[in-house]
């Protein structure tokens, strides 16, 4: 069973829920951290024997200033404001360049070439719960969607006969879509606040478009009863089962600070997470 824990809004408790599900899992397990912008799964489950590989997932162009005649044709066609003529030669802003190569088409003196840029590292290591695939995007390296795709591809290649838990990214853009493509279900962690509820609704639109099975988890549900009712009504209307409601619990804060899954502490949040795990795995078995 391949499950991705996602949320739309950040900071609703994805890593806490992912870590709890992983901790409660008895059989063999693969872990993946698809939040390559801010990877935290490995803080809870430190990996050993980590193999690190550079990931060259992004193209940028280079302009040979000795050949360039400074005509500015490249600057005219670039839709990303990534090329600029300064003095008698054109220069590339590597942070803005999308590597499309349109400038290469118009350069009259063939001064432009394209190269792969290393945009981060992909890590494969062993944790107490099983292999962990994660990644670190270098600051300013742009596109994280492709990198997420690569993390997931590697995790899937491990996960042929196993359980996979993915700690997902916030948002609904390319990293999210790269994360959830091909998983068996997503667990959407929300909380009773205007922002989280709004973001959940947008996330559901994307998951529906991609035909992904959905479960909802309401975290810190006791901070506002009225919005919990709104979330439950929305989920019911959308036919999304609410797998559980986790109370606000200072033990969660303590567990995060101690870098461990909250399920190692006996507390109300931990009890509910056990029920959530049972609910999801029973529902998946039934179908």
């Amino acid at each position: 069973m391949k499950i991705a824990v996602v949320s739309g809004k950040g900071g609703t408790g994805k890593t806490t829920v992912s870590a709890a599900l992983a901790d409660l899992c008895q059989g063999s397990l693969i872990l993946a951290d698809c939040d390559v912008d801010a990877a935290n799964f490995g803080i809870v489950f430190p990996a050993e024997d980590v193999v690190s590989e550079p990931y060259a997932g992004r193209d940028v162009v280079e302009i040979d200033s000795d050949v360039c005649i400074g005509c500015g044709k490249c600057e005219d066609v670039c839709r990303f404001s990534a090329v600029q003529v300064i003095g008698d030669a054109a220069f590339v802003h590597p942070l803005s360049c999308e590597g499309c190569g349109t400038c290469m088409l118009v350069c009259p003196v063939s001064a432009i070439s394209r190269k792969k840029m290393v945009s981060g590292e992909i890590y494969t290591g062993t944790t107490e719960k099983g292999p962990l695939v994660s990644a670190e995007l270098f600051a300013g390296s742009g596109n994280s969607g492709r990198m997420v795709h690569e993390v997931k591809r590697r995790a899937f290649s491990f996960a042929k006969s196993d359980n996979l838990i993915i700690d997902g990214p916030p948002g609904i853009g390319c990293p999210l879509m790269a994360t959830i493509g091909g998983v068996d279900a997503v667990l959407m962690v929300t909380e009773p606040g205007v922002s989280a509820v709004h973001d959940l609704k947008r996330l559901v639109v994307v998951c529906k478009k991609m035909h992904i099975r959905m479960f909802a988890v309401i975290n810190r549900f006791d901070l506002s009863n009225q919005q919990v009712r709104e979330i439950e009504a929305f989920c019911q209307a959308e036919n999304i089962p609410v797998a559980g409601k986790i109370p606000f619990d200072e033990h969660v804060v303590a567990a995060v600070s101690a870098c461990m899954p909250v399920t190692r502490i006996s507390c109300p949040a931990s009890d509910e997470l056990s029920r959530i795990r049972a609910f999801v795995s029973d529902s998946m078995k039934d179908s």
Binding site: R79, A139, G142, S144, P170, G173, M177, G193, R202, L223
Partner: protein, 280 residues
Amino acid sequence: MNIIAASGKGGTGKTMIAANLAFAVSQHESVSLVDCDVEEPNLHLYFPGPVVSVPVKTLIPRIDTEICKFCGKCGEFCNYGALSILKNNVLFFREMCHSCGGCRIVCPEKAVTEEEYGIGTVEIRKPSTHLTLFSGVMNPGEVLAPVIIRRAKELGQSGLTICDAAPGISCPVIEACSDADFVLLVAEPTPFGLANLRQMTELVRLLEIPAGVVINRSFGRDAVIHEFCEKEQLPVFLTIPFSRGFAEVQNGGSLIAREFPEWEQKFRALYTRISAEVSR
């Protein structure tokens, strides 16, 4: 002056900080508030009001199959795999297209023209005399977030602009930070928060933008953040404690600067500190 609220980690309180700061400042002077988290924009939830929507469009190729000779040059050129040329047909995968316009240039038959395609909107609201909100909203299923961010920032450009960035350190955040005079890093005092503050600090150093820190949801144990900030010479401007009361205010769609006069003062003071740093 352009101030950006950013953080590597999601949910640290960027939107809350940007909204409170804009609210406090707008009691006395004009502010544009720009929501650059176009995947999940939330600022409008704290400033409801009538909306004027400006569509955001991008260009996509249109291939005239009467003229096309199916030579395959456009498909070969496209670095994003958006065009697939068959024997007598062309398949276009819109969600892969980055709107670079190269296929139009590379076509030897001039069979490619471009047409506009809507990928989102910028919603404009005027919740009070001195405050205008520009929310970039990407249509669900779309991916070209930077295009919408750029448009929202263009429309929101003014004497004082406060932007709320998306979480992370990749393209949407880099786009939000372009032209920034100051980045306000919102940090959560946890091991996760520290790890992501470190990455975000690397990014602002790379972009050469001055930065300062606000610690949010403090339980009074913030030593790790303070140690890091001291080492990196990042000023810590403000610490906001965790409180169920604050959580309720925000969860319900209000602002602590609106509900508690002392917090309006604190956010005014935060603005004064930022202005002083920028003019230094």
